[in-house]
Symmetry: C2
Subunit: 476 residues, 2 copies
């Protein structure tokens, strides 16, 4: 996205009209939108005159607000090209923000990975019996075992999206799927749209391939179609990486009308849609029935990604891509330079796990709901100042802090025994500092304990010896 | 390598001194060396005068030979900068040479992947029992399970190379290990030395990261130290990817003196040595005891790669990197954008398989020896014109054809039911057309049948309908 209209800004703003001086309230609101990633960095703001007209305030008020934003480093100006959003001190994070302390008894609340389903062990026992059929072969099937691809395709069809096994490529986890797709389709300098906030390691991959990241702000309530459309058109986006089915971290669910409109817009701007459905099967409450994003596709521009990690277990490292048979094959060729093929036994385990798909899903739904409710209750008790919407699916709560930044809070929390994922990990340019993601993929008592420690960290700040070492557990 | 001295050329040449006209024999010999990758493409040849002196022939003879090579496209000249080796028609291979027909009953003799060890199934049964210990966790350990890393480190120590578990990173196969290391350490335009011939998918990875590939010819008898050294110095190589322990495809084994000298040279030219030991445990005969390449390392420039694929099974997709603890950790961070971590169950299976390491190794050695001997016997019977050295380790035979190219032979063989890996797949710039790699990782009767079909293909050329479809089975 390169510019925002006055109308778009006005709709995003939530300013108390009675605040005095009003210009300061206006500046604060814009600052908040930039920090929260609702307004991306490097976007041109509307001319003062236009914004004044739209907000029905005096031009002097807007000028004063812009001046203050400029002073504080949230706006930059270039002669003759208006004002651009920026951040005062782009968080100069250390080498890799996904590293933090480990093996020191910290609660891992920076990671949204549920423990293994109870059905895992029996499925493994059964799968081992299936191995001898493959043991005389090379063990390499870059597309994935046909038997598993059939199961995956059948599940898409059951969801209402007719799918043939040839359209499925089995990958070594959904991260690997993102890697393969971007490696093939994203080149140096290509604009790639991501939601802000979004899944961090997808941004890593896009950056690795030299993409220009174009963030589009979304809120817990979801996507604003005109922002997504404008970003696609203005950036000439090569690809948009979206999570319409319980966005990680917000848990937002895209409605059918928005899905249809975004696919239509992608068609017009010739943008590939990479749709990450890692959390798609993880609804906890009754949600409106939505069609898979690919159901609105008419010209093969929607590539879907799925995963065994959330429903069954991340330790399986099995994911998949659904696309055209031709592209699935090209991706399989691509992986000869990455990992050649996925492990046979894990694929057989996942094929077995599909046998009890509905039951596992119901079970996960119950467990996640109990954990979510426990987390919500603990937060309301210990940290009532924090605000959030309660998501109906996914595995994470996206919390708006009342004051202070999430990064110092995470630092303090580590001293109190909890590892956190502060908002900026889910955005670009250091935005989202006013947010914190908390997963509810752990058991209720762990979450209650975690929240108590976080509240203490917030009250007391960093105390005692700083935990040493660094964790390699990813922020999934 | 940028130039070859007259002495180096002279040593490589094998010209019948009585041949007339001698210049033609000389040209033919040089042509052979270029086609076979012994002399890389784009290397400056010595001045005619120098070569004449060294060969003790008249300058006219060398001039005539160079002229013929130039006419045939094996030499290019640029004003004032001498003559450069080239190839007449750089094999413009189709999209990906690793694809060929599949699922049509062809024997897969393009792939050197043994079937699973008989010990696999019991190890899997046992490993499933180990899973519950991990099932409450995230399942993500980017470094690899400590238990497996201990087993791998212990095996290095047993081989005479003291190793701590912190120095080991478990990967999703050795291809993935190559990918991670090059991704971290090789940048756009960096010179990377590879043996010619070498493992093809390593070249793929280097290319993907924008490396400039610098091939160094090796023969079945092995490495010529001064060629490797000259290539390192002249190219300013960032990295050299070498397989001293049964090079794939030649089966050559590097002696200790050469190992020490190459590590020393790498130190002087500040070249990282990426040592692929995928085949290191697969000796079939008594071989001289050699130390691991890393045993000669004094300043942490040797990175070793190992794999479970050849000893146990490729379908496991488990490999590893041995390096410094610090670099192992950086590689683990790197993989957050690739595959996050390796599957837990497969790691537990490999840890179990280490329990019977010596027995499995002896078993594999016997099986490979029987298959190798069957392949050698079949070739001597059906194709006595072909020449090769019998390797004492590894899983492949590197065959020199008596006439014709390997690519048309592979094409004809596909018509006769066998998929082959022609020489150019193992080199760069289309060299090595006079060679063919045959694996002996399949049972003796399969190999005997395969050779009979190849002999028929050679006699009759392509016949009948051309097989359709394309295989994704990699050329490992």
């Amino acid at each position: 996205m390169r510019h925002l209209t006055a109308t778009q800004i006005a709709r995003l703003l939530d300013v108390d009209r009675t605040a005095r001086p009003y210009y300061r309230a206006l500046a604060q609101a814009v600052r908040g939108l930039i920090r929260d990633g609702q307004i991306p960095v490097h976007v041109r703001m509307p001319a003062e005159r236009h914004l004044a007209e739209t907000l029905q305030v005096s031009r002097t008020t807007v000028t004063a607000a812009y001046d203050q934003l400029r002073e504080q480093g949230y706006l930059g100006s270039r002669q003759g090209s208006g004002s651009w959003t920026s951040l005062p001190d782009p968080a100069t994070t250390s080498d890799n923000p996904w590293l933090s302390v480990d093996d020191d008894g910290l609660l891992q609340l920076h990671c949204a990975a549920p423990p293994a389903t109870s059905r895992l062990q029996p499925a493994m026992v059964a799968a081992v019996e299936d191995v001898p059929r493959y043991a005389m072969g090379t063990g390499y099937d870059p597309m994935g075992l046909p038997h598993l691809r059939e199961r995956i395709a059948a599940r898409y069809t059951e969801r209402g999206l007719a799918t043939r096994p040839e359209q499925i490529l089995v990958t070594t986890g959904s991260q690997h799927a993102i890697q393969l797709v971007m490696s093939l389709l994203v080149g140096q300098g290509d604009p790639v749209i991501v939601e802000s906030p979004t899944y961090p390691h997808a941004i890593d991959v896009a950056r690795q391939h030299g993409a220009r990241i174009v963030p589009v702000g979304i809120s817990q309530e979801g996507w604003q179609l005109d922002l997504v459309s404008a970003a696609m058109r203005q950036s000439g986006a090569r690809m948009a990486y979206l999570m319409p089915d319980f966005n990680n971290p917000t848990g937002a669910l895209m409605d059918d009308a928005t899905r249809a409109a975004i696919v239509g817009e992608a068609r017009r701007s010739d943008t590939i849609l990479l749709i990450d459905e890692t959390w798609a099967e993880l609804a906890m409450d009754e949600v409106p029935r939505t069609a898979a994003m690919a159901a609105f596709d008419t010209d093969s521009r929607v590539i879907s990604i799925g995963s065994a990690s959330k429903l069954w277990w991340g330790g399986l490292r099995i994911g998949w891509v659904r696309t055209t048979a031709a592209l699935a094959r090209r991706l399989a060729v691509q992986r000869s330079a990455v990992d050649i093929a996925s492990p046979v036994l894990e694929q057989l385990v996942v094929a077995r796990l599909f046998d009890e798909f509905a039951q596992t899903r119901a079970e996960r739904s119950r467990t996640l709901r109990a954990s979510r409710d426990a987390l919500v209750a603990a937060l309301r008790e210990h940290l009532p100042e924090w605000s959030f919407s309660v998501p109906r699916g996914g595995g994470t709560l996206w919390i708006r802090l009342d004051r202070g930044g999430a990064t110092p809070l995470a630092e303090a929390a580590a001293h109190h025994g909890v590892r956190l994922a502060p908002g900026p990990w889910f955005g670009v340019d250091g935005a989202l500092e006013g947010y914190l993601r908390l997963p509810f993929t752990q058991p209720p008592q762990v979450l209650a304990e975690g929240v108590a420690k976080i509240a203490e960290a917030r009250r007391r700040g960093p105390v005692g010896p700083r935990p040493t070492g660094a964790s390699l557990i990813p922020t999934v």
